[in-house]
């Protein structure tokens, strides 16, 4: 008995749709309910970040990097700061390095909590979303205490950070970690091992490792496919080589390696690893030191160019900066991890049902601010 093919229909998802995590439009070609082709239309959030950077000084680029991946602004700031520092050859005080690691890892937890919570929302679980946002709120409160902002921090500058950690921060951070660690078990009971959730995600949207590498997918999406690749470990920047942590990879516990559940689970385990790093960093944080000491009066990098990558919660975030010796960058290019993650969507969601496409898209954890820039 042959398969009967009906007339193909093109369906528009978005640009205003809660499941697309921003202003993304998907042109989905469907045969009945089976998806045969997806064409993502991007650019609704384009703000010409790179061209803008050519018209502002190096200090003023930092608030613009905030607005790229607005879920994890600290990591974006860190990537930019590390890149310019390497171009200029600035040595940063040890205290600044520790503060940077602390805020970056806190932001990684916050970002993953948002990713996992909204992923539950995508596949129909509302409660975990509220629980994870409740805990993310406490991290944002701590950031507000540090730099006054909750989402767009402009905290990590070239050569330093804008403010020292306020008094009482370390105690608050320890309190949060003590409170937060048992919560992961609660999330697991609530969502991770829930049969309905597992049925929706396990074995769905399998991303084989070779396809992931061919498409340039990085970060948790790549690690979920079983490839052990983490810039923090393999090409350490800042002081990540001082910390002891594991790189979780997908093992296909409940399905195939590289399915949606693995991508979810790798993020959950990365939260635990971030807690490990945070405990070590809070312990090693130097008591005294001036956070403004290494900030240059005038940022004028020597002529030349640099490409440096860092590990943001979404993957391999890299900046390419060309300097002509003036106070403004001659050219600034940002390699955004979510962009490459989205490009693989068409490949892995062919042949799945329409509702599975939402599950696959959610598991890729894209941020449209970063894709469109």
């Amino acid at each position: 008995m042959g398969v009967i093919h009906g007339e193909e229909m093109v369906l528009n998802i978005g640009p205003q749709h809660p499941s697309t995590h921003g202003v993304l439009r998907l042109k989905v070609k469907t045969d009945g309910e089976v998806v045969s082709d997806i064409y993502p239309v991007i650019g609704y959030l384009h703000r010409s970040f790179e061209k803008h950077c050519e018209n502002v000084t190096y200090e003023q680029v930092v608030p613009y990097t905030d607005r790229c991946d607005y879920i994890a602004s600290m990591n974006n700031n860190l990537g930019y700061a590390v890149t310019v520092e390497e171009l200029m050859g600035i040595e940063v005080p040890e205290k600044v390095e520790y503060i940077r690691i602390i805020v970056a890892e806190f932001n990684r937890i916050a970002s993953h909590l948002l990713a996992l919570g909204t992923y539950g929302l995508d596949v129909g679980a509302f409660t975990p979303f509220l629980y994870m946002f409740r805990d993310r709120e406490r991290i944002l409160d701590m950031f507000e205490m540090v730099c006054g902002a909750r989402l767009l921090y402009n905290y990590i500058w070239v050569g330093g950070v804008s403010h020292d950690l306020p008094k009482g921060f370390v105690e608050t951070a320890y309190q949060f970690l003590d409170y937060f660690e048992p919560q992961v078990t609660e999330y697991n009971n609530l969502l991770t091992y829930n049969k309905i959730f597992v049925e929706r995600t396990a074995d769905v949207g399998v991303l084989p490792p070779d396809v992931a590498i061919n498409y340039g997918v990085t970060g948790p999406n790549l690690r979920a496919s079983g490839v052990k690749w983490d810039i923090r470990k393999d090409e350490p920047y800042s002081i990540y080589d001082k910390f002891d942590f594991d790189v979780p990879v997908g093992q296909g516990e409940l399905g195939t390696i590289g399915d949606c559940w693995d991508r979810y689970w790798v993020r959950m385990r990365e939260i635990e690893e971030s807690v490990k790093i945070l405990r070590q960093a809070l312990k090693g944080l130097p008591k005294d030191g001036d956070v403004h000491q290494a900030i240059p009066k005038k940022i004028r990098p020597p002529k030349g160019s640099i490409y440096k990558r860092t590990e943001s919660p979404r993957g391999d975030l890299a900046y390419y900066i060309t300097s002509d010796g003036k106070p403004k960058p001659y050219r600034l290019k940002m390699r955004s991890p979510a962009f490459t993650s989205l490009s693989v969507l068409n490949k892995i969601s062919k042949g799945w049902m329409l509702s599975d496409v939402i599950a696959i898209l959610g598991s890729l954890d894209i941020v449209l601010g970063e894709i469109d820039r």
């Binding site: 200090e59 608030p63 905030d66 409660t127 205490m145 006054g148 902002a149 009482g168 608050t172 309905i196």
Partner: protein, 195 residues
Amino acid sequence: MTRYFQNIWETITTLLTGFGITWVHMMKIKKNNVTLQYPEEKWPRPERNIGFNHDDYNVIRSRLTVDINDCIGCLKCMRACPVGCIHIDTVKADVRGEDIQEVGHVGITSNGSKKAMVVTRFDIDMTECCYCNLCTFPCPEECIFMTGGPNADRHHIDYEFSEYDRSDLIYRFAKKGTQEKMTEIKAPKEPKVKA
């Protein structure tokens, strides 16, 4: 067949585990309540017990404000702004560090520096402001700052400043009529030609 019943069993048990957690939280909702009823209850409240006080903040990114009596018109904040939402015009004062009564210009700042410039216009367009806080750092007199937090003694916190008209969000800090009066003062005194 066993698989079928096993699936049903697993669904029920994992669902009940989830419901159990929600139930436990519902029982202690009074203690764990995190939602604020916004207009009646305002953040920050000390009883929220996150572990820090209002004064411990480094800064609060609320509204920008300027203490115009301390402003020397150095334009550093204007140059630091990445979006260009600060507009400053200055006129050179006749005598450095002297008060000009007509426009209410104060000659010496609270830090003791003598002003060489009269600020005739100091506008901050809060519709364009991106709250990056970059303008407050270069200020030599610390006269531009974010309200509230550690600056609460200088200006109370103000984060509820929505308006019906966009032009109401352009904050004009220079003293009213400075521009006109300064042009009058500065204008070369020509002998009046009789008609």
